[in-house]
């Protein structure tokens, strides 16, 4: 396993090279560049645009740009955001904590409701509870995220109790440390729910199905024969066998921890990385895009690796080294 992990980590290097090259080319061939917005303004003279183009190196062929980008990046310098004029790393670091917090809470939220609900839906198959939970799951899946966010905003503004968005209250700086913490949490609740619900719905149904597949196994009968209490059977003996696809998807979820959720962040005015990166995509702020891609890919690869390790852990029959 150690060699397996090592090999996977080593494989990261060509992977990242491949991804970066590919994305670089994609950014290049997709129409327009960072200067589009300037070009669309009527009072910007052409010479200034040309000057900017030279300054940003956009006038050179793409492979030259890539080589110089790569050279810099390998030395640990992710470059500078063109629109913010600060190092990309600083820019990302500014927003990362908020995004991380939101992603983590929504992930935990999704799992914390999906797994038990899925288990109970399987246990009480065809009961009213099962049907209701199925219906709500389908509803959650059918409502686009932005709509859910919008509903949350309406809810918050009409009924109060929750802030309509943002990361912290206006008087945040004047609160006690505990108050500040609570303030953050308070602002996290609605976005967490909005983000978590969609994911939870899918997870829950998958959980239910897999539970149904496993629930009839002979070893469940063994556990029952031993006199193991129902919940323990479900949440330990069955769950462990049924959780495989969820573990795999945890790997993807991990990769999303830092990329955030653009729609929800936008609607709920949550200043996270998702917003920033999306904006960078749209603005074609290249170095930000590239850094986001590199970080995202690394997270993905590592997330998948962790998922694979976990997979072998929850299911000892899985072996990678042949």
């Amino acid at each position: 396993m150690k060699t397996y992990i090592l090999r996977r980590l080593l494989l990261m290097i060509p992977m990242l090279l491949g991804v970066s090259l590919l994305v670089f080319v994609l950014v290049y061939i997709s129409p327009g560049n960072y200067l589009d917005v300037l070009k669309a303004q009527r009072d910007i003279p052409a010479e200034f645009i040309a000057k900017k183009e030279r300054e940003l190196g956009l006038d050179r062929p793409w492979y030259m740009q890539y080589v110089s980008w790569l050279g810099r990046t390998v030395r640990g310098d992710f470059g500078e955001s063109w629109s913010y004029r600060i190092p990309v790393i600083e820019l990302l670091a500014q927003r990362a904590p908020a995004t991380l917090a939101l992603s983590l809470t929504s992930l935990v939220f999704a799992w914390a409701i999906a797994v038990p609900l899925g288990v109970f839906a399987a246990v009480y198959r065809n009961s009213i509870f099962d049907k209701l939970s199925a219906l709500s799951a389908y509803a959650a899946l059918s409502i686009p995220e932005f709509f859910l966010a919008l509903l949350a905003v309406i809810f918050a503004s009409q009924w109060g109790g929750f802030p309509t968005g943002g990361l912290s209250a206006i008087d945040h700086d004047y609160l006690s440390p505990v108050g500040q913490l609570w303030d953050y949490v308070h602002h996290l609740i609605l976005p967490t729910i909005v983000l978590g619900i969609g994911g939870a719905a899918g997870l829950m149904r998958v959980m239910r199905t897999n539970m149904l597949d496993v629930i009839q196994s002979d070893y469940v009968m063994t556990a029952r024969a031993k006199g193991v209490p129902g919940n323990v059977i479900m949440f330990r003996h069955v769950l462990r066998n049924a959780i495989n696809p969820l573990v795999t998807s945890l790997g993807f979820a991990f990769s999303g921890l830092l990329s955030g959720a653009v729609l929800v962040e936008n609607v709920m005015n949550y200043p996270g990385l998702g917003q920033l990166i999306f904006q960078a995509f749209m603005r074609k702020d290249r170095d930000v895009v590239m850094a986001a891609v590199i970080i995202g890919s690394s997270m993905l690869i590592i997330g998948n690796l962790i998922a694979d390790i976990l997979l072998a852990w929850v299911d000892p029959r899985i072996r990678y080294d042949k």
Binding site: S30, P31, G32, N33, D36, V37, L38, K39, A40, R42, D43, I44, P45, A46, E47, F48, K51, K52, E55, E80, S83, Y84, R85, I86, E90, L91, Q94, R95, L150, V153, I154, A156, S157, Q158, G160, T164, G165, G166, L167, S168, I170, D171, D173, Y174, L175, S176, G179, E265, N266, V267, M268, N269, P271, G272, Q275, L276, Q279, M282, K284
Partner: protein, 563 residues
């Protein structure tokens, strides 16, 4: 538990500017919302977007200011100025005793420093070309500590507004960045707010990227009321940044913020909350957004020798009767009534009525009239078949595709209505909604499109439109970058545009610009559509709210106080 905000009151400067308004009371927090998503930078030379510019101009005053209501130029950091007889020399007399927010004195050195930075080759920035004529920079000289002189290489009509209003940078704070060549990196969004010194009514108290910007009063601000109270009255001014209008609108409608731009379709329901939450939705009249479409009249060929536009189609597009027919065929009133709940204004020329100073109301108009459109088409040699489809004299079906970008729902509706309206005339329009980058590339580089639709925020001085109206202009969309004007009327526009640039006489400038507007409305290279009206909801608790026709409503925020 909000701490009591403490304010210091250093002595007023000698040349303090006294407001004409009756004195008010201190206190209050003003919360506004900016849909731009927050500033990208606080660096005057770097800023390219409106939000950043707005934040910078709040803290960095110019030599002159503009009264948004009267559109007059009024004194700013300079208490007065003279224009030399050559119309190229401007001498500004700075206020005495003005200090930066950190207490450092403000002087002519700061002005000279600012322009040195702008013209510095190491720091390419957009102002450098704005503040040059034919590539030649202005001369900026310090006469004494409180006097500076500008000399322009040629007569430059919008000097006072454009240059005089430009921000002045603090030499004492920025010199070190100039010396080590990192000026472009200075004053970024990571910079500590205290380092960003101010000459404006506020200085920055705190900035949370993507979230909000908190301003606190500049203790050294150079304006006061007649009772000797230093402005502003506010304790804090907070700008929240949003990406999505819905949330901020919902917040405003439930009384959680002080002002909000309300779109026409939302006015009615937002007004329903006026009583309950003590705000008023003010109508500001037509907005400055100018929506128009145009046909690609570029007769040139691409690298492979293929014409940008099919020659037979180009023939239609170049025919003014065709363009006028199209304009008659568009149901502008319908769009306004249906889509905008009646809250919009049809447009006939480049300026919207919001630009009171430059708007020419006397243009050729094209009210919805399919009959007139058919008449014109008939005159131009077009024919209909029995199914009502339109053909040109050579027997080609009249059909073209309309390109626009997706972001704006109102524009999308205009596109579909246009399509339907043209169908009534027998013209087939295909819609292609593109992402912004692709669209910009099409209209600005590859020219491989037939018809485009765009919305531009206009307003301000006609000089801003040079690149649009000059036939050699980059944004002369229907046929950009012409070597020499393709038509007589384009040549005439070129001439008028140059003339208005080279005179300081407002009446004369107006005359030239009005004629340009008239030519545009007659020749219709751009077919103007509509502008939605603009509405601003403001809480009733503020005194001195003055809402101008165009521009931000908080231009005189320093005079706001709680009723």
């Amino acid at each position: 538990p909000r701490q009591k905000l403490k304010r210091e009151f250093p002595p007023l400067p000698k040349d303090v500017d006294i407001t004409t308004k009756p004195p008010g009371r201190y206190g209050g927090i003003y919360i506004s919302v900016d849909p731009g998503g927050g500033p990208n930078t606080f660096n005057y030379l770097v800023a390219e977007d409106a939000t950043s510019m707005g934040a910078i101009s709040t803290v960095l005053e110019g030599l002159v200011r503009r009264n948004a209501m009267t559109e007059e130029i009024i004194p700013g950091l300079a208490k007065s100025w003279e224009i030399g007889p050559d119309n190229k020399t401007y001498t500004f007399h700075l206020r005495e005793g003005v200090k930066w927010s950190d207490g450092a004195p403000f002087s002519a050195d700061d002005v000279v420093f600012t322009y040195a930075c702008i013209y510095d080759e190491r720091f390419p920035n957009r102002h450098a070309s704005d503040y040059s004529i034919d590539g030649k920079p202005f001369k900026v000289e310090k006469i004494d500590d409180l006097t500076v002189r500008f000399i322009t290489p040629d007569i430059y009509a919008p000097f006072l507004e454009m240059v005089g209003g430009g921000s002045i940078l603090p030499k004492h704070a920025l010199q070190k960045f100039v010396d080590n060549g990192t000026l472009m990196k200075a004053w970024n969004i990571g910079t500590h707010p205290r380092e960003i010194v101010s000459t404006g009514m506020f200085r920055i108290a705190s900035f949370k990227p993507g979230e909000r910007l908190v301003y606190e009063p500049n203790p050294h601000y150079w304006r006061a009321d007649s009772a000797g109270q230093r402005l502003p009255y506010l304790d804090l001014s907070i700008t929240k940044f949003v990406r999505d209008q819905n949330a901020s609108l919902a917040a405003f409608a439930t009384g959680q913020s002080d002002s909000e731009n309300v779109s026409p379709a939302d006015v009615e329901w937002v007004r329903r909350g006026e009583k309950a939450h003590n705000y008023t939705v003010h109508e500001r009249g037509p907005s400055t957004v100018c929506n128009f479409l145009w046909f690609n009249q570029n007769p040139e060929k691409d690298k492979s020798g293929k014409p940008f536009v099919e020659p037979y189609k180009l023939k239609w597009f170049q025919d003014v009767r065709f363009r006028q027919a199209v304009s008659y065929g568009i149901n502008r009133e319908g769009i306004i009534k249906g889509v905008l709940f009646g809250r919009g204004t049809p447009l006939w020329g480049p300026e919207t009525p919001a630009n009171t100073k430059w708007f020419n109301p006397d243009l050729q108009k094209y009210p919805y009239s399919p009959e007139q459109a058919r008449e014109l088409l008939k005159q131009a040699g077009f024919r209909w078949n029995e199914a009502g489809e339109l053909f040109d004299s050579a027997g080609n079906r009249v059909s073209f595709s309309l390109n626009t970008n997706q972001e704006n729902p109102i524009r999308q509706h205009m596109a579909t209505v246009f399509k339907e309206n043209m169908k009534d005339l027998g013209i087939e329009v295909k819609l292609q909604l593109l992402d912004f980058g692709t669209f910009v590339k099409k209209i600005g580089e590859s020219y491989d499109y037939e018809c485009g639709m765009l919305g531009l925020t206009g307003g301000g001085d006609p000089v801003g439109g040079m690149s649009v109206y000059l036939s050699s202009g980059r944004m002369h969309e229907w046929y950009p970058n012409q070597k020499k004007p393709a038509t007589a009327w384009e040549a005439r526009i070129d001439e008028l545009m140059m003339k208005q640039l080279k005179t300081l006489n407002l009446a004369e400038r107006k005359k030239y610009w009005f004629e340009v507007q008239r030519i545009m409305s007659e020749q219709l290279p751009f077919i103007y559509l509509i502008t939605p009206n603009s509405y601003e909801g403001v809480k009733d608790r503020w005194e001195n709210v003055e809402i101008p026709k165009a521009g931000g409503i908080t231009w005189n925020l320093d005079e706001y106080y709680l009723k």
